[in-house]
Symmetry: C2
Subunit: 360 residues, 2 copies
């Protein structure tokens, strides 16, 4: 079967995703019986394009970032989404239309991304996203909408890039209840804290992360703990059944003063980390992002530079930790690819071509 | 649908598994549309029982370990397996017969467990096992047999108990190639090394693990590295496509002398761990279990007591680590339950009852 893709947002991650689709073209066909075709690309500033027979996405991905994708689009991006899924109604009906939401995080309300996803689902598309906003602000409503429409909403890339967290809980932990979690989920702040421990000034470490494209362009999202709070809300909503937004997460970020505390902690054989945590407290789910001083033997204490980790507290399996040892653009793009493959696996065999029997 | 279970081996883990089945009865029906019934139990020393209408497995699990299960069985246990799957041929034909192989590890050849599994698959049963032997000695042949028979062979409990490793790779890392791994996968030796660092004598620490039922009754399996070698072979066979047995794993265990080295290493700010590793070296897959001195910041260095961890080296996601923070009988028993649920999820909707729409 051919999956028709509509890309909303066409930044670094989406472009790398287009590259991965090309690199894995033969694997996708052989192992999963699917081919892909990008039929639509929508951006806020560089226009939009739609072609039922497929766009030259690779060519467009190779262009300069500021070169227009297509015609200027007159109206909000949600209109582009609505119009695209309408044009692709036949593919949507057959369950082979996927909207890839990869616009940037809006920490105010998670918009317009949430609207994009709602429109996509209403139009019969599956959705994969690496944007934390929708899951952090509106997971429950979106999940219900997807369930009703018989479509998937997948978002592995929102936390720890392609390292499986949501898929892990959904696919590999049946009968296990996650009762809480704690982790280090923001690379920029962890890098800055590690660098400051070694004497580097705050501003210099931050600038380094921005130059590498790891830090958000709006530095406040990282250092004030907003990115971590959005991930915490997303994790709490999905894993703990919470209904919270990033604004419900108690939040303290890092400052130069935190750096001084990190140096002192290290001298005392401890480590200061920006820890995200959530858990049930009585009938409510409490969530927090804050610098915490950890004993050296704590798994989170040992995370250097851009490493991330999440420790799930469960009923049957006690604690399980997953550690991401390095982060890159490819890993986030891979998350989108892995979500696409999850959808392909769900698609009835009869719709797929060239499917090989999969080994155990 | 009702899954009929034949239990081969009826020790601590299987008895706890029977307990979990009872505790999760309503969840299994509501979330997965299945009920279960134990129709056969086979043991080497305490007889065997079979009843098409179901045995009182909970009652039997509550009995003393040395009390007979049923009639003495005249012949090898594989005959019990063959006869049971033949008696349950109708359930086997409908894909709702599951043989649970939970006999103890035979490090010589992985028998008779491998034979049990082969007989089960030939008789049309699915198989779940927490016995490392079959996957460490004969994964490829068993996987091919299961594939041909259209039945599942699942073995999550063979490494790190119920913490998902094999399911993680199979279900959540599509398009990712695992190119190698290293880890601490034997709890007893890690506990002994940690205890010796703190001045406890070797024999005392070992005796403690045996009293807790964590160490194998045959201490050599743990301290000579055989258990770790069996897990390494299983991981290499499944994740790297190797065809090795535990005897192909270069192997050094731990001794009192290793304990002295552990104390020295710790004094020098390093840690000594029994590390299992495998990877491609040219066209061959090399695997090794040996004490290794690790820098303190190594994730494996920080594993205390009975903690385990496995670091997967992958192409697209670099390194991913999974850490098990504690181990228990329940966790191994849970592995069997999670494998059973994986089979239930594969079973056509039409065969299941009471299935609820699952949320995302």
């Amino acid at each position: 079967v051919t999956f028709d893709l509509v890309l909303v947002g066409f930044g670094h991650v989406t472009r790398r995703f287009v590259g991965l689709l090309a690199e894995y073209r033969s694997d996708l066909l052989r192992q999963h019986g699917i081919t892909t075709r990008v039929v639509g690309i929508g951006t806020r500033r560089h226009g939009c394009a739609y072609a039922a027979e497929g766009l030259d996405a690779e060519g467009l991905a190779g262009n300069q970032r500021d070169r227009p994708i297509g015609e200027p689009f007159d109206g909000p991006t949600i209109d582009f989404v609505t119009q695209s899924v309408r044009k692709a109604a036949a593919a949507a009906h057959e369950g082979r239309l996927v909207v890839v939401e990869a616009t940037t995080l809006d920490i105010g309300r998670g918009e317009p991304a949430t609207g994009h996803i709602r429109a996509a689902i209403e139009g019969g598309a599956h959705v994969v996203t690496c944007n934390k906003g929708p899951v952090a602000f509106a997971y429950r409503q979106l999940a219900i909408a997807a369930e009703r429409a018989g479509r998937r909403l997948l978002f592995e890339g929102t936390v720890m890039d392609g390292v499986p967290i949501f898929n892990l809980a959904r696919e590999t932990l049946p009968a296990v209840t996650v009762v809480g979690f704690r982790g280090v989920v923001n690379s920029t702040t962890n890098y800055i804290l590690t660098a400051m421990e070694q004497g580097q000034p705050f501003a210099e470490a931050l600038a380094e992360m921005q130059a590498m494209g790891v830090a958000e362009a709006n530095a406040s999202l990282d250092i004030d703990g907003w990115d971590a709070a959005a991930k915490t809300a997303a994790l709490a909503n999905v894993l703990l059944g919470a209904s919270m937004t990033p604004h419900d997460v108690e939040r303290r970020g890092i400052t130069e003063e935190t750096g001084r505390r990190a140096v002192e902690a290290r001298a005392a054989g401890r480590r200061l980390k920006l820890v995200a945590r959530a858990g049930r407290e009585g009938s409510v789910i409490a969530a927090r992002v804050a610098p915490e001083e950890l004993p050296e033997e704590d798994l989170l204490a040992g995370l250097e530079g851009r490493q991330n980790a999440l420790i799930l507290h469960t009923d049957l399996l006690d604690e399980i930790a997953v550690v991401q040892r390095s982060a890159s653009l490819t890993q986030t793009a891979y998350a989108l690819l892995s979500d696409l493959i999850t959808i392909a696996r769900d698609t009835p065999q009869s719709l797929r071509q060239g499917q090989q029997g999969h080994t155990l």
